[in-house]
């Protein structure tokens, strides 16, 4: 099937198998390997991207479902050489270790702050509760998102 997906502001047209998952479309067709693949069952969230501004697990979205829609991946967070506040927050607060969950966490964090610029700890934990991190015990991810919230005020 021929689809056109706008990714990080740029439209891409490709012929794809109907069964192709969005995560594989991004990684293998567009070479955007910042989006990872971890479980196939929507549990781990390392494949999280924004679809029309809303976080989705791209391992359970077909590429054809993104036809005509806008996708934001981690590669799209930095604008004109300026890191997003959430990216800065993760560096400042040691919000990542192995880095595998980080892209998905960043996109959910950005979505959260867009809706709620001043989330408390509980709201942050709830927002990232659909994503796993095996390294940080979440403590510094929560702090990183708080840092970004405060930096954005």
């Amino acid at each position: 099937m021929r689809i056109t997906v706008t990714v990080n502001g740029q439209p891409y047209t490709r012929d794809v198998e109907p069964r192709l998952l969005l995560v594989h479309f991004l990684r293998d067709e567009l070479d955007l390997t910042g989006t990872h693949w971890g479980c196939d069952t929507s549990n781990c969230g390392v494949c999280t991207v924004q679809l029309d501004g809303v976080p989705v697990k791209s391992c359970t979205v077909l590429a054809v479902m993104a036809d005509g829609h806008e996708v934001t991946t981690v590669e799209g967070l930095e604008r004109d050489g300026e890191l997003d506040a959430v990216q800065k927050g993760f560096v400042e607060c040691h919000g990542l270790q192995c880095g595998f969950c980080t892209p998905g966490m960043l996109l959910t964090a950005r979505w959260l702050l867009d809706r709620n610029p001043d989330p408390d700890e509980g709201q942050i934990r709830e927002a990232i509760s659909g994503q796993l991190c095996r390294c940080t015990g979440y403590e510094n991810i929560v702090r990183s998102i708080r840092w970004a919230a405060e930096a954005g005020r």
Partner: protein, 782 residues
């Protein structure tokens, strides 16, 4: 000073999605592999028909056990002197075992072709519960091994049996408790995989693979496949978490290599999550019976343990050769105990191989869990507060270095100080008062204490090797003419931040900014030999090598500086990052100045080569012994069995902290693991050996909702044997925290007369315990 919190150098790429994990590596003409796996736990293979798969238009090769047998590669050695099937030839021995390998033009077609392979199996009775493995009529799993008539692997013991038994006979009080440390899985978010590229012209094999031990892999490939070792390059790029699950060589890696040799193209194989959970290294699975002998006033005299260790279908544990039960015999823990003895029996079952993984410090996890549960069982028996009982028995600072009853030499520690700090931070007495109030109202609140002594940094080469390879690590340090340095180390980060921490070590030793030090790791063509990153050994071993190689450079720099200053080297001192003549620090020479001079036409004394580069190998004189005191507070809903971890206080002493920010991050992660293991995680099987935890829908991992905000404290007792006094910290929290959580839950359930319950303390299990019907965690359905 280069030590202290410093933002990580690694982060710049990770926050931009520019990490380079194995699955991100692409080569021109690359093909894709997929593995067909056994649906049975135990079955004879009658026939394998690959003709339909081979006819698939996008399939380039189908490899079976028979194909590999023709290459003498159907079996490979494990890290414990056993063998493991790469692709099954005679029987399958666990559900998920590798049976055939398909190479196709794309990953989806490779998966499609798996469906076209027709395998006829003759199912056999399976051994699932380790407690039945040694029954006289039990099916023999390893009939491939010459003369094998049962499922027994080894018996091993440590300590003084006679002295221990004598103390038990005379003891005023003895307690005993059976417990299971269930089978769990490290479940790093990046699964395992490999990209193999064999160049027929040059004969060079390059393997990209998320391995924690790239040099060990290279040597093993050479030994197994007969490839010359200098023609093998293992590249371990960024790793998406390892936790001990990425130490050994998996059949898929060998298949990818064979696939590349057969097709002449690069072949990438990445397992999916189910494959990862079903077939890669599990952890624990220890059935333990602990006994403690004590005086009535709470003085612990002796401890003895019997263990039945479930090793799965192939004995593939990764640990030093001498120690088939790893470092389990450190089970006398943090206490001043007269005598101790343990017996461990290892058995085969029809489950995946593994055993030593998941931040376990070679089974210190099991040892600490055992002793810390036993201390609580004793406290309940004596009616003593568990913190007070620990305080009475902890080793005292003046007892170090301390030789334990099973032969370990603990390097340094102030244990009472750490426990007191944890109790102060937690407000222990107030918590007990609160608990009493709540109990009076029928509410269930628990306070759990654990104290751990870790044994990390394997290890002294004389005692510790893996497959004959001594556990010493190399390091190379180059200092460029402008004073910038490149450190090459053998260990490999899976998120620990080596590129930052090791740069800080070199920076500290050379008096240059850590930003001026590049750390190269994970590529066997670019780094010196060493055994890798696991068992919390990076800082204790490679970190020590980094410090010592820096000191070698500094010594070389001293000679150059002396020539620059027209002084004798004997008259120089190292101060403030400069070599200067004693008493004249203002004329000192910095490393950058010396480096330039070392590459210049400066006349050096005869026999001095110039340049500053150096090489070293660090063979640790002893392990290092981090320790800590943990306190967990839980609330339990008696109606639902739901456990809420309300607070967790962790005081860790890992010696000198190079980068406290990274140290705390390591502890946070380990604490979450402990909560996960205590409350959620278990690899369960049904009676036929069907895996009941083969996805993240069934194998539950803690999210941000299950984790409290961790409260950390620190004491610092430097290691006297490590060049910078550091001890390693990567696994401390995973080792110490499960017992604290379980002790807290059992404490909460005290009103029901509960003295023990096995992990994981899921709502269902807690509810059953409350109702007097605990279930066996190794089998899902009683």
């Amino acid at each position: 000073m280069s030590y202290g919190p410093m933002h990580r150098k690694e982060d710049a790429r990770f926050i931009r999605g520019r990490g380079n994990y194995t699955d991100d590596v692409r080569l021109p003409g690359m093909l894709y592999g997929a593995i067909l796996r056994s649906p049975h736990a135990h079955a004879r293979i009658v026939s394998v028909d690959t003709s339909a798969a081979e006819a698939h238009p996008k399939v380039r090769a189908v490899i079976t056990g028979q194909t590999l047998a023709g290459l003498n590669l159907a079996w490979m050695p494990t890290l414990s002197q056993d063998t493991q099937a790469v692709l099954a030839t005679d029987k399958v021995r666990f559900q998920g075992q590798e049976v055939a390998f398909v190479v196709a033009e794309d990953a989806y077609s490779a998966r499609d072709a798996l469906e076209l392979i027709d395998v006829e199996y003759e199912p056999l009775d399976a051994v699932i519960d380790a407690r039945n493995a040694l029954d006289p009529g039990a099916p023999v799993i390893r009939d491939d091994l010459e003369g094998r008539t049962g499922n027994h692997i080894f018996d091993w013991e440590a300590g003084d049996r006679a002295r221990t038994d004598a103390l038990f006979e005379q003891a005023e009080v003895t307690v005993a408790q059976d417990m299971i440390y269930p089978r769990v899985h490290p479940a790093p978010l990046e699964t395992c995989g490999a990209l193999a590229d064999f160049d027929k012209v040059t004969g060079k094999l390059t393997v990209w693979c998320p391995t924690q031990a790239p040099h060990a892999h290279r040597t093993l490939y050479a030994m197994v496949a007969g490839l010359p070792e200098h023609k093998i390059r293992v590249i371990s790029p960024d790793i998406g978490g390892g936790f001990g699950g990425k130490v050994g060589i998996y059949p898929g890696y060998v298949c990818a290599i064979v696939g590349s040799i057969v097709t002449g193209k690069p072949v990438k194989w990445m397992e999916d999550r189910s494959e990862n959970l079903m077939s890669t290294a599990f952890a624990r699975d220890y059935h333990m019976r602990g006994e403690v002998a004590a005086t009535r006033d709470g003085r612990i005299q002796a401890i003895r343990v019997k263990v039945l260790a479930d090793h799965g279908a192939f004995n593939g544990t990764a640990q030093p050769t001498k120690f088939p039960a790893g470092f389990f015999h450190v089970f006398s823990g943090s206490y001043d105990i007269e005598a101790a003895h343990c017996e461990v029996t290892g058995v085969y079952t029809n489950k995946a191989p593994g055993g030593v993984a998941y931040a376990c410090s070679f089974r210190v996890t099991e040892a600490v869990y055992l002793v810390e549960r036993m201390v609580d069982v004793l406290a309940a028996e004596l009616g003593l507060d568990p913190a007070e009982l620990r305080m009475r028995n902890l080793l005292k600072p003046e007892q170090f270095p301390y030789t334990s009853p099973t032969g370990w030499e603990y390097d340094s520690g102030d244990y009472p100080k750490a426990l007191r700090l944890a109790m102060d931070m937690a407000g222990y007495d107030k918590l007990r008062a609160e608990q009493a109030d709540k109990r009076a109202r029928g509410e269930l609140m628990g306070i759990g204490v654990s104290f751990f002594t870790e044994a990390v940094g394997a290890g002294p080469r004389k005692h510790m090797d893996i497959l004959g390879l001594g556990m010493a690590d190399g390091a190379e340090l180059r200092v460029h003419p402008t004073g910038k340095a490149v450190l090459r180390v053998s260990c490999q980060s899976q998120g620990q931040g080596h590129e930052t921490t090791f740069a800080q070590i070199v920076g500290q030793e050379l008096g240059i900014p850590a930003d001026d030090v590049e750390v190269v790791h994970g590529d066997t063509d670019q780094t010196p030999f060493g055994l890798g990153t696991y068992g919390s050994r990076s800082t204790p071993v490679s970190g020590a090598a980094a410090a010592l190689v820096s000191r070698k450079v500094r010594d070389r720099a001293k000679i150059v500086a002396a020539a620059m200053l027209e002084a004798s080297p004997d008259d120089l001192e190292w101060a403030d990052g400069k070599w200067s003549v004693v008493g004249d620090p203002s004329a000192g020479r910095s490393m950058a100045e010396i480096a330039l001079a070392a590459h210049s036409n400066l006349e050096l004394p005869d026999g001095v080569e110039g340049h500053l580069d150096a090489v070293t190998v660090y063979n640790p004189p002893n392990l290092t012994y981090p320790f800590g005191a943990y306190i967990c507070v839980v609330d339990v809903d008696p109606g639902t069995g739901q456990v809420k971890v309300r607070r967790f206080v962790a005081v860790d002493d890992c010696g000198v902290r190079i980068n406290p920010m990274i140290v705390e991050g390591q502890i946070h992660g380990g604490l979450a693991d402990g909560v996960g293991m205590a409350l959620m995680q278990v690899m369960a099987f049904d009676e036929d050996g069907n895996h009941l935890g083969a996805s993240f829908m069934d194998y539950l991992l803690p999210t941000a909702m299950e984790c409290p905000s961790w409260e950390l404290g620190a004491t610092v007792t430097p290691s006297p044997t490590h060049p910078i006094g550091a001890k390693g910290v990567g696994e401390s929290a995973t080792v110490g925290s499960p017992a604290a959580v379980v002790n807290a839950v059992v404490d909460a359930l005290g009103p029901y007369g509960v003295r023990h319950a096995d992990m994981p303390l899921t709502p269902a299990n807690v509810w059953r315990v409350v109702n007097g019907d605990p279930f066996r965690t190794d089998l899902a359905i009683p």
